[in-house]
Amino acid sequence: MSDDQPQALRAEALEALLIEQGLLSAEAVDEVIATYNERVGPMNGARVVARAWVDPAFKARLLADGTAAIAEFAFEGGQTEKLVVVENTDTLHNVVVCTLCSCYPWAVLGLPPKWYKDPAYRSRVVREPRRVLAEFGVHLAEQTRVRVWDSSAEVRYMVLPQRPADSEGLDEAALAARVSRDAMIGVAVL
């Protein structure tokens, strides 16, 4: 994925043509890189999860209306017009995909990892979720149901993972540090 492959030159050429026409600023690329490295990423979703773990009233609001509940965090990032948060329990495991493209809740998770956008995950997780989850190291009991959320419209999904058993006494910030991106997609447990 270096900058000398044909797509890289084509992107650079397109950028130059748009800059010439005044449709794009030369600083826009650096702004994009800064936004999605520093401000919009899974650290935002982790804060939401940690608050839900420590504040039952917030958790109830989050599960009832994710969009309204995260409004108080004032995240940027787009692609999250309507957020639905789905809770993992002892009897139900949730996992998120977009088989038709790569829809993902940018405001809370940032930009998706490469594997989320690649054909293997998109094709397989709807058909054989238990096998795919096992490859990620998630081995579910037979009696645990698996629900795969295929994001086929503008609703975006985030998984509320179960709180780790050994996290008693941790404050909200310490809990947020324990929450991984993969757990909020549903391909990891904490």
Binding site: M1, V29, E31, W115, R127, D150, S152, V155
Partner: protein
């Protein structure tokens, strides 16, 4: 569109390959593509996400699989910029050659010669998806949670958000989300056609038959026009 993008349930792609310590952008050109996408949106060339997604569906299928996520975006954006007349292919090839590249290297973009089905007006307030359409859409939802529904059996050459693996399948409505812009018309500049959106749950067995893993289900967010009532 029955394209390569409709990947749900397809066999043959093997293991999910993960990177350790994956960066947000693997190279600067990926962020360039992101910036170009934003500029094309601001200029009204990309009018809404549906049109952009359909432009990606229309790229070369081999490029779809081989060029990666930002390569697909690049193909979709170039398609729309050329169709809108904002970028001329001769200028683009000259700019590539000026950077020492091969202007005839295989590219993903596939602009129509006459994209008569797309109306390239600059984006105006209300022409995009921002905000739900429910305020402009009075009629009640046809289905309530618990309703059994069957999906449309056929595909379409245009944009749609009903994946092939879930055609002609029965499921249960588990959530009603109000009215939303209809991607199948909005992608083609044929109107927002707002309609109710439902989350429908399908059992693994309904989708995959005897090969389904036990105790699994898939949910999809489906527009009212895709659904019919199942009479018991």
């Amino acid at each position: 569109m029955d394209g390569i993008h409709d990947l749900g349930g397809k066999h043959g792609f093997g293991a999910v390959i993960r990177e350790t310590d994956e960066p947000v952008f693997h190279a600067r050109w990926e962020a360039r593509v992101f910036a170009v996408m934003r500029a094309a949106s601001a200029a009204g060339v990309i009018r809404n996400a549906d049109q952009f997604r359909h432009a990606i569906e229309r790229i070369d299928p081999l490029a779809y699989l081989g060029h990666g996520y930002y390569g697909r975006w690049l193909g979709g954006i170039e398609t729309l910029l050329r169709e809108a007349g904002v970028v001329d292919v001769a200028d683009l090839e000259a700019a590539i050659a000026a950077r020492g590249g091969d202007p005839r290297a295989p590219a993903a973009a596939r602009p129509d010669r006459q994209p008569a089905h797309i109306d390239y007006q600059p984006a105006a307030p209300g022409s995009r998806r921002e905000g739900q359409a429910s305020a402009r859409f009075a009629p009640g939802a046809r289905f309530a949670p618990g309703a059994r529904v069957r999906t449309r059996a056929t595909g379409t050459a245009g944009h749609t958000r009903l994946p092939a693996y879930a055609r002609a399948r029965c499921g249960t409505v588990i959530a009603v989300h109000g009215a939303w812009v209809f991607p199948d018309s909005n992608a083609h500049g044929a109107g927002e056609n707002p309609q109710h959106l439902y989350t429908v749950e399908f059992s693994g067995r309904e989708l995959w038959g005897d090969e389904a893993e036990p105790g699994t289900c898939v949910t999809l967010d489906l527009f009212e026009q895709y659904l019919q009532e199942v009479t018991p």
